[in-house]
């Protein structure tokens, strides 16, 4: 799909009806159109996003159980295709690659020459983008390409990406998209939006087009329109999901509370438990920080600069002249949580959290951001807590 503003809205047509055993047709149409199809697949005891060649690569009949610091997959006893919550990976690993060569140079006869990488960026089709993750992509768009500083790698990948979004019917124990206003229903712009209805003896998909290119795919698929009854059933599944959030977070006043509580004792409390491993930031679908490293050949005749995902939880992240400005784990945790729920608003006009729950699930010691943020929000401001942030 093209960037948001440029996308064309087709006429509102009823969604198409699709039997789950024919979902592979959608994948094959996308592949014939030259897309590399990326979707959920089961690997090493988790559902991850990776290249899928057919619907057989999907975690058919599997679901997940997620709680703080714990993730397990288990069979559901049916043939559901999308009946699980957010996968271990976020889509950012494809749009904002974790380890990327920015440029390389070669020295020949004393002359240094930049070597251009001529390979065109892959055209991705993301299959199974949940509402929270769709919103996360929109927020990454804001950071990476809609503002004054454009990340050209991101924009090239994003501009050509085709998004098949999923209305989420199976939230996990760490989900709180309802609190963040990002799901479980897809409200953002996607090329196709699918809903999977499983239960009461029925199993079917509905597919609605959100863009002209989505409509082209639907036209090629050539399926009948879903009946009102089918649409109602699918809709009810999404409605039910909204009542099934594993977690909740009151966000009213949270932005201000975090901005005004740099000396709250809770920061010390959480820093005693936090491993500063950065798993939360690296799992987060909107955390975008990176660093660059230069690699030179032993002979000194070639060099390359690579960009790598970084995390604000490492000591070196805030290294300036003379040392790190956020040396204590307390200041590092505070930096992250405050950025997500408070200063992100100052920078980008929205928050940095979409409620996907990954930071809670993938924290090796199960630290729960909804709990930490709630404690700060509920606290009566302490004397002196409105002072400037200090280490």
């Amino acid at each position: 799909m093209t960037t948001q503003g440029a996308a064309q809205q087709p006429d509102a047509r009823p969604p198409a009806f699709l039997e789950p055993e024919h979902f592979d047709d959608v994948i094959q149409i996308l592949r014939r159109r030259g897309y590399r199809t990326i979707g959920p697949t089961r690997r090493d005891g988790a559902i991850v996003y990776d290249e899928i060649e057919s619907a057989q690569d999907l975690p058919v009949g599997w679901t997940d159980e997620q709680s703080p610091g714990r993730y397990r997959v288990r069979p559901r006893g049916d043939h559901a295709l999308f009946a699980y919550a957010s996968a271990a990976h976020a889509w950012k690993r494809f749009l904002h690659p974790p380890n990327l060569q920015l440029w390389r140079a070669q020295r020949t006869n004393g002359h240094v020459e930049l070597v251009a990488d001529s390979a065109p960026p892959p055209r991705y089709a993301f299959v199974g983008v949940r509402a929270c993750d769709l919103e996360a992509i929109r927020r990454l768009d804001q950071v990476m390409m809609d503002g004054p500083y454009v990340d050209h790698v991101y924009r090239a990948l994003r501009r050509d990406a085709f998004l098949v979004a999923v209305n989420c019917c199976d939230p996990s124990g760490t989900c709180f998209c309802v609190s963040m206003g990002t799901g479980p229903r897809v409200t953002g712009l996607a090329d196709l939006v699918l809903t999977e209805m499983v239960g009461a003896g029925r199993h079917f998909l509905t597919l609605a087009a959100g863009t002209a290119s989505g409509q082209e795919v639907l036209d090629e698929l050539g399926r009948r329109a879903a009946t009102d009854e089918e649409c109602r059933l699918a809709d009810a599944s999404v409605e039910a999901a909204a009542q099934n959030m594993g977690r909740s977070l009151a966000v009213d006043g949270l932005r201000e509370a975090l901005a005004n509580s740099p000396e709250h004792p809770r920061w010390e409390h959480v820093s005693k438990r936090c491993l500063t491993c950065g798993s939360c930031t690296l799992s987060c679908p909107t955390c975008f920080c990176s660093t660059v490293e230069d690699v030179t050949a032993l002979r000194g005749d070639a060099t390359e600069r690579r960009r790598l995902w970084d995390t604000c939880f490492s000591v070196e992240f805030s290294y300036l002249h003379g040392g790190s400005v956020r040396l204590s784990p307390r200041s590092r945790y505070r930096q992250w949580l405050t950025h997500k729920f408070s200063t992100w608003h100052d920078q980008f006009g929205v928050g940095g959290c979409v409620g996907c729950g990954r930071c809670i699930t993938w924290c090796p010691v199960g630290i729960d951001v909804t709990e930490e943020a709630s404690v700060i929000r509920q606290a009566v401001p302490l004397p002196g807590s409105t002072g400037p942030m200090t280490e």
């Binding site: 950065g278 030179t296 790598l308 490492s314 993938w362």
Partner: protein, 259 residues
């Protein structure tokens, strides 16, 4: 370093298994490049031809475990412009530093038929306890790409780029599924320095802490979380007493649980 001639390189062995210096021979594809960049003049594992010092760069493998070695390391230091320690033995005392938690006399009496001929120190200590070290390269064994990076940096007179964050960062960059969260496997990754490329988690195994503690590791939070999950005290102790048992943060944590 003089541009007119290649820097000379010496490789030294102390108490160790030789695995780290083998990493140099293991470079295979890059070995010719290494030989083109430096003059390997003292490397008895590779060649009997040994040139006298002083040397521009010395790679030191192994820990100090005998009175003889405690003397010898000073001679190595005196004959080296730059001294780089390689591996967990040289940087933290190695697996043989398990003796630091016991009584070495008891061990020798059990292991050797004639223990009266064994002259050994009560502790296995890293090289930096004895002489000034210019750069430490962690790992059990070291990562050959890190070795090439350090050699390249020294040859070209720049700072080596080695990570100062935990294994989790490498794991997530590589797209590995967290073995601790998805498998319930005890993993030292969150407190261990990166550098191996998250090798074990890539094969769904927990991290064994081969690269030693990362900067400011919260070992207690990890150990307490394990204990709360039902891990036995002895298992917590053993997790921290691996190849870097005597590295300060790991030693302290294991001793807290060793009661």
């Amino acid at each position: 370093m003089a541009k007119t001639r290649k820097p000379t390189l010496a490789v030294w062995k102390f108490a160790s298994c030789d695995g780290c210096q083998l990493s140099l021979l293991d470079c295979e594809d890059e070995l010719l490049e290494v030989a083109a960049a430096v003059d390997i003049v003292n490397f008895v594992e590779a060649s009997r031809a040994v040139a006298k010092g002083p040397y521009d760069i010395s790679l030191v493998e192994g820990s100090i475990t005998t009175p003889h070695d405690a003397e010898r390391i000073h001679r190595v230091r005196r004959s080296s412009k730059l001294l780089v320690t390689i591996g967990a033995c040289a940087t933290a005392g190695g697996i043989q530093a398990l003796r630091n938690f016991g009584n070495v006399k008891e061990y020798t009496s059990i292991v050797y038929a004639s223990p009266q001929y064994i002259e050994t120190l009560s502790k296995s200590t890293p090289i930096s306890d004895h002489v000034f070290v210019d750069f430490e390269l962690r790992g059990c064994p070291i990562n050959k790409y890190q070795l090439l990076e350090v050699l390249g940096a020294l040859v070209h007179g720049r700072r080596p780029v080695t990570p100062s964050y935990g294994v989790c960062v490498e794991c997530k960059r590589r797209g590995h599924v967290c073995v601790a969260v998805a498998g319930g496997t005890p993993c030292l990754g969150p407190v261990t320095n990166a550098g191996c490329g998250a090798l074990c988690p890539g094969f769904t195994r927990g991290c064994y802490g081969c690269f030693g503690p990362k900067p400011m590791p919260n070992t207690s939070a990890l150990a307490n979380y394990w204990s709360a999950g039902g891990m036995k005290r002895l298992d917590v102790v053993r997790a921290f007493r691996g190849f870097n048992a005597s590295a300060e943060a790991f030693r302290r944590e294991s001793e807290l649980h060793d009661t």
